[in-house]
Each structure stands twice: as C-alpha cells, then as structure tokens.
C-alpha cells in the first residue's frame, strides 16, 4: 500500500468510529438543550436498539426489525422522562444527572437478565462479513457506508426538524429561553419528553446500523457514552453540528495515533488532545462562552 492509500485507510477507520461517537454526542445535545441534563444513559439507548433489533430480526424482516427497535427504544426514552425525570421537578440538575447514572446501570443490568452476557449482532445489511468496497486504494465494508449514510441522513433530518417545523422550533425555544417559551404557550414538559424520545430513537437507529460492525453486548453502552461525551464537549455542548465535528475528530485522532504509537494508548492520545483543547478553549472548539453563560446563570 502506498502512503496515500494508507492515510486514507486510517482516515476511513477514524471516520467510522467517529461517526458513531457523533451520534451519541448529538443525543447528548438534544436532551441537554431541552432540559440541561447530561444524560449519561445515552449509550444504553444504542445498546437497547441493537438488542431489540436482533431479537425482532428472528421474527420479522430486517427493515421491520430496525424500525421496530427504533420505535420501542423511543418509547423507552419517553417513558423514562415521563415516569422519572418529570416527577422530580424540584431536583437540581446535578441530581438529575446522577439519576441518569442510576438509569444507565439499571438498563444495563436489566438487559443482562433479559437477554444474556453473550454478544449478538444483526446481519450485514448488504454483502457479508468478508465483502468490501475499494475506494481509491482503501478498502471498507459496505456496512461502513450504511453507517455513514444513515447517520448523515439522520443528522440532516434532525437539523431540518429543529429548524423548519413548528415542533422543532418550539424545542429550540425551550432550550434558548424556557421562561419565554412557556409564556409563548409552549408545553415545556412535552418538549422534554420529546427530546428524550428523539434522543433515544436516534441512539437506537445508530445501535442497529453499527451492530454488524461492532456487535451488540449489554456492556457496550458505557464506553460509547464516554466517547460521545468527549465528542460533545470537544464540539461545544448544545451545538449539534459541533458534536458531529467533535465525534469525527475523536475518531480520527484515535486512528491516526495508532499509526504513530502503540495502539494500546490510542485513547490516551485522544484524551490528551481533548484536555489540551479544553485548557486552551474552555468551552470546546465550537462552543461559545456566552452560550454557556446563558445555561449556567
């Protein structure tokens, strides 16, 4: 392989990982914008999506299974907000964040006991485990294209939803200024439920498309949540497009570091860069200090 081909191969590997982190980061941002809560159970939605889809795929065709999984997990997300977070109106945001840690553990353990400890996965959407597509000297699995395609479509659709539909605008209004939104007649509670549902559905969709590549396992959520959190912070909290950039950056950093140093330390490189960025730009690369001020005071 030539140097250029190699670089491209590393880059593609990084983009594959990065796009997954980006979806988690967008999920973080959706809920964060609407409620101020950092939902540390975000990774569990991805795991649940994969688990439910794999189970459904035994009975129904793949596309139906994926749609079913997204629907189920969206409902789980809504239910969480409705049954738990809505009932805690007098709690500080920190307490709610700790509750999400509890939720994450409970979902994970419930999955262990509902399913089991084994890995499982959806079949490849096109081709099989060994098929690959050659792209300018680099080779990738067709599933990577499915991941990239699905995530791009989801992000664009989400962007359109938030920008051009009435409900989406109402959601953004809630995050920009809750008091004013309430005065304007927006039902803030429902907007919050919606944000949890959207975030969970998005996570589930990602959980389905990555399942053939990463496999689905009851403990897969936490590491993804951590990387997604890093991506969201790097991109600047509350900035969906920043989250995409942050996710890709973390993924590419990991892949590039592998080419230069022992792979055992690939996370170290990514997190050292993250810390350095934070120390230079305390609000992430694309985050605005003023935006932060609105949220914190």
């Amino acid at each position: 392989m030539g140097t250029g081909d190699l670089a491209l191969q590393y880059l593609l590997s990084g983009i594959t990982k990065g796009s997954i982190y980006a979806v988690v980061a967008i999920g973080f941002n959706l809920i964060y914008s609407a409620t101020g809560v950092l939902n540390l159970a975000q990774g569990e939605f991805i795991m649940l999506g994969g688990m439910v889809a794999v189970t459904l795929a035994h009975y129904v065709p793949l596309p139906v299974a994926v749609a079913g999984a997204v629907l189920v997990v969206t409902l789980v997300g809504c239910l969480l907000e409705w049954s738990l977070f809505r009932r805690l109106p007098n709690h500080s945001v920190l307490h709610l964040i700790i509750v999400t840690i509890g939720v994450s553990i409970v979902i994970q353990e419930a999955s262990l006991h509902i399913w089991d400890e084994k890995v499982r996965s959806l079949p490849y959407f096109t081709g099989n485990e060994v098929s690959s597509i050659h792209l300018l000297g680099a080779a990738i699995s067709p599933q990577v294209l499915w991941v990239l395609g699905t995530i791009t479509v989801a992000v664009v659709a989400l962007h359109g939803f938030l920008k051009y539909t009435l409900t989406g605008r109402a959601m953004r209004a809630c995050s920009a200024n809750p008091e004013a939104a309430m005065l304007a007649g927006i039902n803030i509670r429902n907007m919050r439920t919606l944000s949890f549902g959207l975030s969970a559905g998005l996570g589930a969709l990602a959980g389905c498309v990555i399942s053939p590549i990463t496999m689905t396992h009851y403990e897969m959520g936490a590491p993804l949540a951590i990387k997604g959190f890093a991506a969201a912070i790097l991109g600047g909290l509350g900035n969906p497009m920043g989250a995409v950039a942050g996710g890709l950056l973390v993924g590419v950093l990991e892949a590039v570091s592998v080419s230069r140093m022992p792979a055992a330390y690939n996370d170290v490189a990514a997190f050292v860069v993250l810390l350095l960025v934070l120390f230079v730009r305390p609000h992430g690369i694309f985050g605005l200090p003023s935006g932060q001020a609105v949220r914190e005071h």
Partner: protein, 386 residues
C-alpha cells in the same frame, strides 16, 4: 423554571449553612459534636454486636468499605462545598495504591550502589516474598510519602488548568484524566498490565499496629480504618467551619462577588481539589496494603462514577450522610449480598435515594427524630432546590 438557572454540577442549594448553625454559640458547638461522639460510639458498638453474633469476620468488609468511604467523603467536600465535580477520583485512589504497590513489590537489588545507603536510611529494606525470593524493596512508609507526592503532582497538573473550566467541561476534563491514568496503568508492564499488582507486604505503622488483611490483626485494622474515617470527617468538618469554609460558601453564593471581595476563589478551589485528591490517594495506599494488591479497575471510569454517585446519594454537603451511605452500600456490595444483582440494586437504590431524599437519607431521618423530639438541632433542612 429556576432549576435551569442554578449551577449544573454545583449543587448550590444543597450547601448547608453549618457555619451559622454550629459555629457561633457554645451550645451550637456542642451540638456539632453529637455526630462525632455518635460515630465514635457506633464503631465499638458495631464490633461488640458482631462479636456477640459470632460474625466478627464482617469487620473485613467494613474495613474495606471504610477506606472507600474516605474517598467518597473527600469527594463530598469537593462537590458539596466547592461546587466542583470530579469524575476522576478513582484515578487518585489508583495512583496512591499503585505507587505504593510498585515501590513495595519491585525488586531494586540490581541497583546495588544506590540501595546500600537507602537501606541504611530505612528507605529500602531487604525482605523475602511469598516464594522465598530475596528482594530489596522500598519500605511502606517511604512508599506512602512517594504515593502522596505522585498524587499531589498529578492533582496540580490536572487541577490547576481545570480550574478554568466549569460544569460539564470540568467533569469531562477530570473524566479524561481518569481515563488516561487507567489506560497507562493497564498498558504498562511495570504496573502489571491488566493483572495489576499483588504480593504487597503489610505496613507496620508503628510497633503493634499493622495494616494487613490477615485474620489476627482484623480487629485493629477495623478500628484503624474507622478511626481514620472519623479523623477525616472531623478534619473536613473543621475545614468547612473555618475561613476556608466561609470562602467556599461565598464561591457558591456567587463567584464573581466573592472575587471582588478579595477572595482568591481559584486558590481555594485548588486547595479543596488537592485535599480531596490526597484523601483518595491515602485511602488507596491503605487499601492496597490491606488487600495486598490492586488492579486496574480501581482507576476505571465506572469506579469514579460510582464515587460521585455515592457522594450525591449521601447528600454531598452532608458529610456524615455521605460517609454512612458510602459505608453501607460498599459494605453490602463487598459482602456479596445481592449476588448477580449487585449493580442492579446499586442503580435502583441510587435512583430511589436521590428521587426521595435529594439531601441524603440523613436529612429525613433527622427530621423524623426532631418531630419526635429526640434530637434538637437548629439545622435547616432545605435541600437541592432554591
């Protein structure tokens, strides 16, 4: 919608105004001593009950839980009073434990020239390991100081720049720090890679007082661990009632205002961060000697998250509550009460406690006692929300 405008990680409302309540009058001071005396009496009482019941072996898990409680209590100070959250305290615990473990198990006999005078200075000692091999290792006391130094250097490295960060950004920075430490520990052969280190010798604190998990010294180790926890609690209580405590409270009430009043908020925050990091590292050193080893999972993100969760469940600024909740939950976990449901029970309890008693379970308990006229205390019980 006031909730949105309060601090994110800083639990502003949660800080108890203990300064006014307890600091002033003599009666107030005496009331402040009630938990200290209560705790000091509960420790031997518990021992007595266990002894009578013939279950003295439970002291082993109580001892381990007490060391974890020291970490969580220090974190409670950081979260409840300085309004900072650290998702990397597991890393400080591990830095303390690992430094000790490396120094007391690594054989330095190859460096003949240097080890001679170090042995004379009682920094190194020749000893035998379990299999009869002759080793020259650092003495536990010297290793303890080295461990604290390493933890403090790491604390400054991460704490100083991280002070510029707020809320979630600080949380991420500390989480990232923890992950880096965990990856380095698991990647390095010096620290035993994924297996961690074992065969850490016992630590003779003074003649007759040994940190070790062996059965003959089980009772003294229980008293040692609980004594250390009590000392830490008193130390922290004095800290929050001193100048530092008032400064911290002013940071809570408004950092800019505090700054303009001439309070160097950054310095105070760094001090509290370093104090809690030092407590975590010290707990790590004791724990490592007690269990005779340490593994990389101690530095993991999940462990750090668990500490934060325990501190929050205990009521953060309510340091007694933090200590008790942490002691109890870790004890049950280390006893294996819930079998394969251990994590599930922890998660469910976390949700329950925080939903029902956001200021920690001690607050409603105290309120109940007050209602029945058993305990008079001027402490206001306002919690989480303004």
């Amino acid at each position: 919608m006031k909730r949105l405008s309060t601090g994110i990680w800083a639990d502003k409302g949660g800080i108890r105004s203990s300064v006014e309540d307890e600091g002033g009058t003599i009666a107030g001071r005496l009331r402040g001593l009630v938990p200290v005396i209560g705790f000091a009496m509960a420790v031997p009482l518990l021992h007595l009950v266990l002894r009578v019941a013939g279950t003295e072996y439970c002291l082993t898990q109580l001892t381990m839980a007490a060391y974890y409680a020291i970490v969580v209590t220090g974190l409670g100070l950081l979260m409840g009073y300085a309004g900072q959250v650290s998702l990397g305290h597991g890393a400080f615990f591990a830095l303390g434990g690992y430094t000790t473990a490396v120094l007391t198990t690594h054989d330095f006999s190859k460096w003949k020239a240097a080890t001679g005078w170090l042995q004379e200075a009682h920094i190194m000692v020749a000893r035998q390991d379990l299999y009869g091999n002759q080793l020259v290792t650092v003495t536990p006391w010297a290793a303890f100081f080295a461990a604290m130094a390493v933890a403090m250097i790491a604390g400054c490295l991460i704490g100083y720049p991280a002070l510029r960060l707020r809320g979630h950004y600080l949380a991420m920075a500390t989480l990232g720090f923890g992950l880096i430490v965990a990856k380095l520990l698991v990647g390095s052969n010096l620290t035993g890679a994924a297996d961690g280190l074992n065969g850490v010798p016992e630590w003779i604190l003074m003649p007759g007082l040994v940190v070790s998990g062996k059965v003959p010294v089980r009772v003294q180790n229980y008293y040692l661990a609980c004594g250390l926890l009590l000392v830490v609690l008193v130390l922290l209580r004095n800290t929050v009632q001193s100048r530092v405590g008032r400064a911290l409270k002013s940071i809570h009430d408004g950092e800019k205002a505090a700054n303009s009043m001439g309070i160097n908020t950054a310095a105070y925050k760094l001090k509290v961060f370093l104090l809690s990091a030092a407590l975590a590292a010290a707990a790590g050193v004791f724990f490592t000697h007690y269990t005779a080893g340490i593994g990389p999972s101690e530095a993991g993100a999940l462990k750090s998250l668990r500490y934060v969760a325990l501190a929050a469940a205990g009521g953060m600024s309510n340091l007694w509550g933090v200590a008790i909740v942490s002691l109890a939950l870790n004890y049950f976990s280390l006893r294996g009460w819930f079998g394969t449901y251990d994590n599930a029970v922890f998660g469910a309890l976390l949700i329950l406690i925080i939903s029902l008693a956001p200021a920690g379970p001690l607050q409603p308990a105290a309120a109940w006692l007050r209602r029945r006229g058993w305990w008079r205390n001027a402490q206001s019980s306002h919690h989480g929300t303004p």
